[in-house]
């Protein structure tokens, strides 16, 4: 395991990139994802910002040459809302995925390494997994108020136990390896052993898991918005644009379809990218890791 484990966890960067780009699905989804990210970042240049003005005269216009995706119940351009909304949604996804990965890894490393701590922490993780993530998030955000930090924290909470379990399982399998034993025998402090000799084995599965968490977090933001506790409507996100569309969707289905399509394309691109990374980084890493996300 150790030799292949090392090779698997530390692929040559150039080789990895080359292999990924030779996979057509990965290539297409990367291009799509990049395009969506750029369109969100440069939304102001593409559509201007005056498009958020409330213009009752232009309410619920169907998609056409003037408004590509129509207008919503307040007369705002849905195309502009979707592009601008991507900023907040992608930011939430990124922050939640990264903080979930960092916190989960820290807990997982320590738990896997300290035997006496393991049963306690794992029961806590079991408890966190038993609470439906979306309900916890809705409750937390409705109590604290819909700030960026609250929404990211609410989404991150449900992701932590999954990362912890993943990292812990890697630590458990690597802990008895001779190179770890040797490092310990040389008197290297435990923290350094964890960071220098055990953490590298976790990197490959972590990259894959973080990709899936990014996708799941974007979806969660949308669900929070849909259930009525997302960001306030003055700053667009995919979640609150979808929420606004809810009331009028029978008369103006484009208010749901346009942001829904963007959201779905993004999540799909990220998921496919995750699949590609997984196949490349670790063919044995089963889909089960993504199961409950």
């Amino acid at each position: 395991m150790s030799a292949t484990g090392q090779a698997r966890s530390m692929p040559q960067r150039g080789v990895l990139l080359e292999a990924l780009l030779s996979n057509r699905v990965v290539l297409c989804s990367s291009v799509l994802l990049l395009a969506i990210m750029l369109s969100a970042v440069f939304a102001g240049l593409l559509t201007g910002t005056d498009t958020f003005l409330i213009r009752p005269r232009l309410r619920l216009r169907p998609p056409g040459s003037e408004f590509w995706f129509g207008t919503d119940a307040l007369g705002r351009d849905v195309f502009a809302l979707v592009l601008h909304g991507g900023k907040l949604s992608l930011l939430v996804g990124l922050l939640a995925a990264v903080s979930g990965a960092v916190i989960g890894t820290a807990i997982g490393l320590v738990t896997g390494y300290l035997r006496w701590l393991d049963p306690v922490v794992m029961r806590i993780m079991d408890g966190m997994m038993a609470i439906p993530g979306i309900l916890f998030a809705v409750a937390l955000v409705s109590l604290v108020g819909p700030s960026l930090m609250a929404i990211v924290a609410a989404i991150t909470f449900a992701e932590i136990p999954r990362v912890t379990r993943l990292v812990r399982s890697v630590v458990l399998s690597v802990r008895e390896e001779s190179y770890v034993r040797a490092a310990e025998g040389l008197g290297i402090p435990p923290l350094l052993v964890l960071l220098r000799h055990i953490l590298p084995s976790c990197i490959a599965p972590l990259i894959v898991q973080t990709t899936y968490m990014f996708a799941a977090a974007i979806l969660s933001e949308a669900v929070l918005g849909f259930l009525g506790v997302g960001f306030p409507p003055d700053i667009p996100s995919w979640g609150n644009v979808l929420a606004e569309g809810r009331a009028v969707f029978q008369r103006a289905p484009w208010t749901i379809i346009a942001p829904g399509l963007f959201l779905a394309m993004t999540v799909m691109a990220v998921n496919l990218l995750g699949d590609g990374l997984r196949d490349r980084l670790d063919p044995r890493l089963s889909r089960a890791a993504k199961v409950s996300s």
Binding site: R123, I124, D126, G127, M128, M129, A130, I131, P132, G133, I134, L135, F136, V138, A139, L140, S142, L143, V144, A215, L219, A222, V223, F226, L227, G228, V229, L242, F249, Q250, P253, I256, I257, G260, L263, A264, M265, V267, M268, N271, L272, D275, S286, R287, A288, V291, S292
Partner: protein, 313 residues
Amino acid sequence: MLRLIALRVAMAVPVMLVVATIVFLLLRLSPGDPALVLAGDNAGPEAVARIRAEMGLDRPLLVQYFGWLGEIARGRFGISILSKVPVLALIRDRLEPTLVLALSAIVITVVLAVPLGAIAAWRHNSWIDRGVMMLSVVGFSVPAFVIGYLLILFLSVKADLFPVQGYVSPFSDPVAALRHLALPSLTLALVFMALIARVTRSSVLEVLGEDFVRTARAKGNVERRVLWRHALPNAAVPIITVIGLGIALLISGVVVTESVFNLPGVGRLTIDAILARDYPVVQGLMLFFALIYVGVNLLIDIAYVIVDPRIRY
């Protein structure tokens, strides 16, 4: 067998204790005074003080915590602040739509996704395999409420095949109930199907490479029998595991689906209670959902022993 069950139940107790602690802390440590919120804007300070005393919010946090744990241990989940009805009675009244919805989604999933996944594995790399995998990616990526709204738009509003929203009990009018149930259960089933089809495929794929499958073929079994009789049962353990983990997915899905289709179930009740800040109901419902998750996974642990006689504790 009995020892195994006892052991597993014993392990579920600390997990539920953790859940109870998280739920308690979530609602007590959040900013804002619940009594103030409940009393409304026009209430005087004595009204707020009365509500605080009524809810026990004036007592120290630890006293509240252990008092609450004691109540739960005795099966008392509290009383709704708004409707003054015990939480368990509220859950009982709203349970039917949720159960009907969840069970029909599970039936759809098992009937469609397991065979699809098995066939995809059997015809590895064929168009049917690619199709199943593509559908599974789509199922993971499109949010359930968008699917729900698309179904309503095309099949209810445009084509008028199904009612738009609402719930009819199958015990009062089975035909109308089926028509009302079709779209919600399909919406709920889709994510679950994506998951189960994928896991079935990879699990069967793995088993198809095993020696006993080659032996079964060598003995002259027809391919169909090899797949359904030899490969699929041996691929069952991962599939069952994922069905258990997928319960979390199903619970989130129920909440969203009930909101889309306006079903008066437990999921809708939870969201309403959260938005109305009806703390006892929120606490009770979170415990209830966690209990279902833990309970289902407990049953699955026990099911392993039945499915796979090699597992012994």
